[in-house]
């Protein structure tokens, strides 16, 4: 059973705007899912719907098998949320805020746990400081500490690294990795493709309230590891020369260029032999160039294709 089950979820805001247009998604126990999408894609709306902050118009969401509306107590007990906005009580001390969050989720006080969390997030020295006396990066860590204080099994991080420096971003990634080791399921949203590459097990792409792709990072990486070699010929040919038949080559329509797809990770790319065979077949090469797929290309391509479809 998936830890989070999202089925045909629609969300229409009061103004009539449809922010989620039938989203279905399964999130497996213990995985890290990165949700990528441009501004206004619906990432925060989706997270808010799972956590109970937003009411969904249609569809259903289950966390740990519990419906988030009818069995909200059981569902929400499992979930921790680090919101995108820095929503914190300014006059409260760090440690009081963390204790509050733990209590709110029905957990008995556990000072040892709270100390561990604050130390892990380098907030222990600031535990008695008021929130308003902290820097932006520290406030973000307070939000994380509050979410961890009630030992969630599923943790939502809504743009945890927006506006934090490089060092803190690395720290954050380490924290996420540690939580994963503890068996916590983690869903994070981000605009940074490197972030998804660095820590996610799976990557989802969302735009305009629709999920465009959810794929294992590994298989995405293989796709990304592929390069295309384009060979431009001096004289166009009618067909791929028979000598090159064991290569899977694509001939352009005008017969002026051949394209060869290969894996950069493979032991042999076969490029040297291909060039030799071409010369033997009497084809003169005018120019060559290569292109590589990146997650960014895939992402931009997907979003662009969706724009075209909606325009058509």
């Amino acid at each position: 059973m998936p830890t989070v089950e999202i089925r045909d979820v629609r969300k229409r805001y009061d103004g009539g705007f449809e922010a989620l247009k039938g989203v279905s998604l399964d999130i497996e126990e213990g995985e890290i899912l990165a949700l990528l999408g441009p501004n206004g894609a619906g990432k925060t709306t989706l997270i808010s719907a799972i956590c109970g902050i937003t009411r969904i118009t249609d569809g259903s969401i289950r966390v740990g098998g519990h419906d988030v509306v009818t069995e909200f107590r059981a569902a929400r007990s499992l979930v921790g949320l680090v919101p995108q906005e820095m929503n914190l009580e300014p006059f409260q001390t760090v440690i009081a805020g963390v204790r509050f969050s733990r209590g709110l989720f029905g957990k008995r006080p556990d000072e040892a746990l709270i100390e561990r969390i604050l130390r892990r997030l380098s907030l222990w020295d600031k535990r008695n400081a008021k929130v308003m006396e902290l820097s932006g990066g520290m406030k973000r860590r307070v939000l994380i500490a509050k979410a961890l204080a009630h030992e969630p099994r599923v943790l939502f991080l809504d743009e945890p690294t927006a506006g934090v420096d490089v060092e803190l971003r690395r720290d954050m990634w380490d924290t996420v990795a540690e939580l994963k080791r503890d068996g916590v399921t983690i869903i994070l949203t981000t605009h940074y493709i490197e972030e998804a590459e660095a820590i996610a097990d799976r990557v989802g792409v969302i735009n305009k309230g629709e999920i465009l792709l959810v794929e294992d990072k590994a298989s995405l990486m293989t796709r990304m590891g592929q390069k295309e070699l384009t060979i431009e010929l001096t004289d166009p040919v009618d067909s791929v020369p028979p000598a090159l038949s064991d290569y899977d080559l694509r001939l352009s329509e005008d017969g002026g260029s051949l394209t060869y797809r290969y894996d950069t990770g493979a032991d042999r790319t076969g490029i040297g032999r291909l060039m030799g065979l071409l010369a033997e077949a009497g084809c003169q090469v005018r120019d060559v160039h290569t292109a590589q797929n990146s997650l960014e290309d895939i992402f931009v391509g997907l979003v662009a294709r969706q724009e075209e479809e909606t325009a058509a």
Partner: protein, 253 residues
């Protein structure tokens, strides 16, 4: 029942109160003293007695009620409005708590603060006038019920309000007039007959009357009617809060 959550909310709200404990203590003392100087001395010297009670003592229950009601409303409305305003309400909405637990935390704290103010005023008043409380148990019950029901009303106002102006509007435009016209400083029987009829539509009349009865055994309306009125008022407020959380009105997008 998520008891740790109720306790966490209650403690959080009370922390705000303790941050300004001196202010919470001094201001009712000063305002009560002023009331006695103005009403008790200046007017009281002309009125002398109302239904056999010295005017100074007669106004004590109304004075306590006035402060308790306004304090309960302003504390509870601010308590829930502020998290909405700064966005920290996300945590309440995503926590495994139901409406009753949230209400118990917020309203419990607001009622405690109002009760504290009520007791401070009672203590201050005892310096100025000779007070005897005829039905102490009834007095405590009326005081508690008023603290709770007006905190509930304040809680609803805090959820309803979209800005600070609205937050202050209801207490100013609705509650203060109702309290002043509710017989806090006079007996309803002192009004012309037409106004007496109007007064019976004012819920505050029943509270002040019942509360005053617990001091002096004097009431404008039968004590059972007073109790019924306050119970009905509390029930209406509770139903409204239940509906708010069920529909997410003005709290869940």
């Amino acid at each position: 029942m998520n008891l740790p959550a109720i306790w966490a909310i209650y403690k959080f709200e009370m922390a705000r109160f303790f941050r300004s404990i001196l202010q919470s203590f001094v201001s009712p003392v000063i305002s009560t003293s002023l009331y006695f100087v103005v009403f008790g001395a200046a007017i009281g010297s002309r009125i002398d007695q109302v239904e056999g009670v010295s005017y100074g003592a007669f106004i004590v229950p109304g004075l306590i009620m006035l402060s308790v009601m306004t304090q309960a409303i302003s504390n509870a409305s601010f308590g829930i409005y502020f998290p909405k305003f700064i966005g920290t309400i996300y945590e309440l909405l995503s926590a495994p708590v139901n409406f009753l637990e949230i209400v118990l935390g917020f309203v419990g704290a607001a009622a405690t603060k109002a009760l504290f103010i009520g007791v401070v005023i009672l203590g201050t008043a005892a310096f100025f006038v000779d007070l005897q409380i005829m039905h102490p148990v009834a007095m405590v019950i009326f005081l508690l019920l008023t603290c709770m029901s007006f905190s509930l009303l304040g809680f609803i106002i805090g959820i309803w309000a979209r800005n600070f102006e609205q937050l202050q509007l209801v207490p100013l435009l609705v509650v203060t007039p109702l309290v002043f016209l509710g017989g806090s400083f006079y007996s309803i029987s002192m009004l012309p007959p037409a106004w007496q009829t109007v007064a019976y539509f004012n819920p505050v009349v029943y509270l002040v009357s019942g509360f005053r009865w617990s001091f002096f055994g004097l009431a404008d309306v039968p004590i059972a009617v007073s109790l019924l009125a306050i119970a009905g008022f509390t029930a209406i407020c509770l139903a409204a809060v239940w509906w708010i959380f069920k529909t997410g009105w003005r709290i869940r997008t």
